[in-house]
């Protein structure tokens, strides 16, 4: 497991507007590898929900299969969770949302889950603009089966066994924009200062909000070192700070200067270039987002932050014109047409 959670909690842990301290948003202890980036993302979710003053039980957490899909157990223990089948969390989330439009839906998936078997469902949940937060914890490999390349592994990259990946990588964020996603962000599990506001913004987004989070696999996509202390310490340093969620995306607080780029060294010695969005970035313009991503890709950099957003979007319920009242609360009174109507229907068939 990644860390031993201290039983002792400071009695004066700050409380949010609902009167809950951050520990109220935690889940079971993680059973992921020590230092796994996924745990940092879980911590980001906890922090974002805490800061957003969300009632945990009004959140439903859904996932597929894989390391990433285990994480919903590790945050928001007062929320219902659903660990479904491989690559098919989007359909379960869709059904759940149709049943009750009033909950907040958190989908957690990985690159193995979403970019391969789940590609079909990912594509279609984007198209439908389901009102949910969809986080891909993207480590470029299949951790739970010991490190095989996934479809997001970069062409030419080496895995732990020294094999070079020969195929093109699927870029989930570009794909989401192409498919018409109305909120697309990209981040790094080690960059909590950026990730937390992004998750907060995603929660607030009234449609499909996609966050592709690069989350290194410490065991199978790194050879040396441990980020355990790095992630753990970083998470706790930020835990007491407060970052206000600002709906205007250009003002999301980051620890970088706008327009700068930062090289993040990976455990296996390779590196990812994180490049922050430029000052004159227009997150409302799809084509400029696509162009910027292509430019960054050509330079070997990974563009992070909020890439694209359409805040005026309407979700699936609006498209389907479903009742404002959650469907799961309707009773026989509203749903059953009764025997008199059935007599009329019978007459149509005589």
């Amino acid at each position: 497991m990644s860390y031993i959670r201290p039983k002792f909690r400071h009695p004066e842990l700050p409380k949010n507007k609902l009167g809950y301290s951050v520990d109220f948003y935690e889940g079971a202890l993680s059973t992921l590898c020590a230092g796994c980036g996924h745990d940092s993302i879980s911590a980001g979710v906890i922090q974002a929900c805490y800061e957003s003053n969300i009632e945990p039980h009004r959140v439903a957490k859904l996932s597929g299969i894989g390391c990433s899909s285990k994480t919903p157990a590790y945050f928001l223990s007062n929320s219902h969770g659903f660990n479904s089948v491989h690559g098919r969390m989007p359909s379960v989330a869709t059904g759940a949302s149709l049943a009750n439009r009033d909950l907040i839906y958190f989908g957690v998936s990985g690159d193995g889950d979403s970019a391969s078997i789940g590609m079909g469902q990912f594509v279609h949940v984007v198209r439908r603009n389901l009102n949910m937060v969809y986080i891909v914890m993207n480590n470029g490999c299949y951790g739970l089966t010991k490190g095989q390349d996934s479809a997001t592994a970069d062409n030419g990259s080496k895995n732990k066994s020294g094999n070079v990946n020969l195929f093109e990588a699927i870029d989930m964020a570009s794909l989401a924009i192409e498919l018409g996603a109305t909120f697309v962000a990209q981040s790094f599990s080690g960059d909590k200062a950026q990730l937390v506001p992004l998750i907060k913004a995603a929660i607030k987004h009234p449609g499909f909000a996609f966050i592709n989070v690069i989350s290194p696999c410490v065991t199978f996509n790194n050879n040396v070192g441990s980020t355990k202390s790095y992630d753990y310490v970083r998470q706790h340093v930020e835990a007491t700070s407060t970052i206000d969620f600002v709906p205007e995306m250009a003002e999301i607080t980051t620890s970088y200067e706008a327009g700068t780029s930062k090289k993040i060294k990976m455990h296996d010695g390779s590196s990812i270039q994180l490049s922050k969005l430029e000052k004159d970035w227009d997150p409302m313009d799809r084509s400029s987002a696509v162009n910027a991503m292509l430019r960054a890709k050509a330079k070997g950099e990974l563009l992070t932050g909020l890439l694209y957003m359409n805040p005026d979007t309407q979700d699936l319920h609006h498209t389907l014109n479903t009742s404002d009242v959650p469907l799961n609360t309707l009773t026989k009174k509203e749903l059953c047409p009764g025997s008199k109507t059935l007599a009329d229907i019978n007459a149509e068939y005589r």
Binding site: A73, V85, P90, G95, A99, N100, L327
Partner: protein, 615 residues
């Protein structure tokens, strides 16, 4: 010859004959043929149509077979008494399908080729094309009215009351009154041609009766869709596949009028066409988990795709309703032909130890009732329930008792804890068997701030839904699921037993759409002195009645419409019975089973057995 014709000698008579229409699909013949059937229905005479159609939209041969039976036999019958042969493509087979002494009505605008002439049948030539060309200018009308003209001709040949046809045409074109007159004109053209050129009516013909009481004529898929509306389904996720598509189409169509919230104009239902069957069942499970009554409809290939999710729903105990309209498999098989061949796949869908509750309707009324039962059972048992219908039941019109709904009937939502319930629960255990019936309590997401949340998963867990790889905890859970299965036996529809006391040493078991032909076969056998006790299975798991029935007979015939005797396998596998006494009567050519086939196989088996007994 595309359709086999059994040579059983038949005698057509008053209100007792079979007409087959041989058409080209996509030419408007369906509505004309339906007009013919509906007119007979309106004359109070039992009638049953079978649509024998290709997996194609336009240009291929399609048949429509109508059996009229004063005795009320609604199964298929061999032997075509009158063939309406208006498709040159299939003429060869259509001519040979007519029974000796039967009739063929053909388009005599062109001379019939010599190869189609048989000297043991009668030919009725009506110059359909010529008449159309004379009376209609528009090419599309020329095509459509050809069909209506032959219905007019048939009216004269078999004595359909003409005003019944006129009424039906007027009803059909309500709001498009301009079309009534030309249609009636076409009917008259056909009728008058027969009057002028042939002896009429034929020796088999119709005579008004009052045999149908308040029956309706409806297809099973529409009845299923209506059943889902009545039983409170609010989420439907589906993927188009023949022959199940019209279940959801009916649900959509009735929801548009019956599920609109008057104040807001919004819908009290969400219907979504999924990207595939994998997603359709996923959505159903997500909605069921979240407290909505949800369903999907599919056929064999879709059921195959849904297997993994069904295993999850079984193990994680999530309600779901699946309507499987079976067609001829395996693989794409004959997608527009009927079969009962998904039994084993449905019963044990998914890997690991899984079992699913199946319901087997026989009539549209049962499609309606059992769809409603499925939703109650799914939520009471917290598991997928599969309604096993088939193409014959789903897509063909059937005479059925009128649909009924008891306004006092409540939706049985099962064991659900509310926020108030949770307040007094010390510790909620999602998979605890509190009541000893194997059925645990569940909570909907979003119910209570601090109690009742749990993690739904396909992995093993303990009574409190906490992940565990402890073999004992896993086994306790699997054994509880068996206990729940036992509980289900008393909750599913009981079999229909045809006699108060068993009086024969031979028994007969059947299910689903075999009912029509089995009941007729029992009469035929009885006339030969062979009396059978019969039992119609309505659900899996089988309850004790089924086991007792088998125990109390020396031989038990099992009628089913598949090659591998799947119900027999299921019975053998699930019940403590001697499999050697089970004898299969199987039909798997894609056509609905006939009484003659059942009668023949059973009488042979009984008469040829060494210890022959007609008792």
């Amino acid at each position: 010859m595309p359709l086999s014709n059994n040579t059983k000698p038949v005698k057509a008579g008053l209100n007792d004959f079979v007409v087959r229409f041989a058409n080209v699909n996509g030419t408007g013949s369906a509505s004309a043929n339906f007009l013919f059937t509906k007119a007979i229905f309106r004359m109070g005479i039992p009638v049953t149509p079978k649509n024998i159609f290709p997996s194609n939209i336009q240009g291929l041969p399609t048949w429509y077979e109508v059996r009229v039976s004063e005795k009320g036999y609604l199964g298929r019958r061999e032997g075509i008494d009158l063939m309406v042969a208006v498709n040159p493509q299939s003429m060869d087979g259509d001519v040979s399908a007519v029974r000796t002494g039967g009739y063929i009505l053909y388009d005599s605008s062109k001379k019939l080729h010599e190869q189609y002439l048989r000297d043991d049948i009668h030919y009725i030539g009506v110059p359909l094309m010529e008449m159309c060309n004379t009376h209609y200018a528009d090419p599309r009308q020329r095509q459509l009215f050809k069909n209506i003209i032959y219905v007019g001709a048939l009216a004269a040949l078999v004595n359909i009351e003409f005003d019944v046809l006129e009424t039906l045409v007027a009803e059909q074109f309500q709001g498009k009154e301009k079309l009534i007159a030309p249609n009636v004109q076409a009917l008259k053209l056909g009728r008058d041609y027969i009057h002028e050129h042939f002896k009429f009516p034929l020796e088999f013909k119709l005579e008004r009766r009052n045999l149908l009481n308040d029956a309706i004529m409806i297809d099973g898929n529409t009845a299923c869709g209506l059943g889902a509306v009545y039983s409170g389904a609010t989420v439907a996720a589906w993927y188009p596949i023949t022959p199940s598509t019209s279940v959801v189409e009916a649900f959509i169509s009735y929801s548009k009028s019956l599920r609109v919230d008057e104040a807001s104009g919004k819908l009290n239902v969400a219907i979504l066409q999924a990207e595939d069957e994998l997603a359709a069942i996923g959505m159903v499970i997500g909605a069921g988990w979240n407290g909505a009554r949800s369903f999907t409809a599919t056929s064999g290939p879709g059921l195959s795709l849904m297997n993994e999710f069904l295993g999850l729903a079984y193990f994680a105990e999530v309600p779901a309703v699946l309507i499987d309209v079976q067609r001829t498999g395996p693989s794409t098989g004959m997608p527009t032909r009927t079969q009962q061949s998904d039994i084993l796949e449905a019963a044990y869908a998914s890997h690991g130890d899984t079992k699913h509750v199946l319901l087997f309707p026989s009539t549209p009324k049962e499609c309606f009732d059992m769809t409603a039962d499925c939703f109650d059972l799914a939520e009471q048992l917290q598991t997928p329930i599969i309604l096993m219908t088939d193409l014959d039941l789903g897509m063909n019109d059937h005479i059925s008792p009128a649909l009924t709904w008891d306004d006092k009937r409540d939706y049985k939502r099962g064991k659900i804890l509310t926020a108030e319930d949770l307040d007094v629960v010390e510790r909620f255990g999602r998979y605890r068997d509190v009541d000893g019936d194997g059925i645990p309590y569940r909570t909907y997401p979003g119910t209570h701030p601090t109690k009742g949340s749990y993690f739904t998963r396909g992995t093993s867990r303990d009574e409190y839904a906490i992940y565990t790889e402890d073999g004992n905890a896993y086994k306790r859970n699997m054994d509880r699921l068996v206990k729940k299965w036992e509980t289900a036996k008393a909750m599913v529809p009981a079999p229909q037993v045809y006699q108060k006391n068993n009086h024969s040493e031979n028994g007969l078991i059947f299910f689903g759409t075999s009912q029509y032909s089995v009941e007729e076969a029992m009469d035929l056998l009885s006339a030969q002195g062979i009396k059978l006790d019969a039992l119609r299975i309505k659900a899996f798991p089988f309850n004790k009645v089924v086991e007792d029935f088998i125990h109390s007979h020396k031989k038990v015939f099992i009628v089913e419409q598949n090659r591998d005797a799947q119900l027999k396998s299921l019975i053998t596998n699930e019940l403590s019975i001697d499999p050697n006494k089970l004898i299969s009567v199987l039909n798997y050519d894609g056509m609905p089973i006939t009484a003659f086939k059942i009668e023949l196989e059973i009488s042979r088996s009984i008469l040829l057995s060494p210890q022959f007994s007609k008792a």
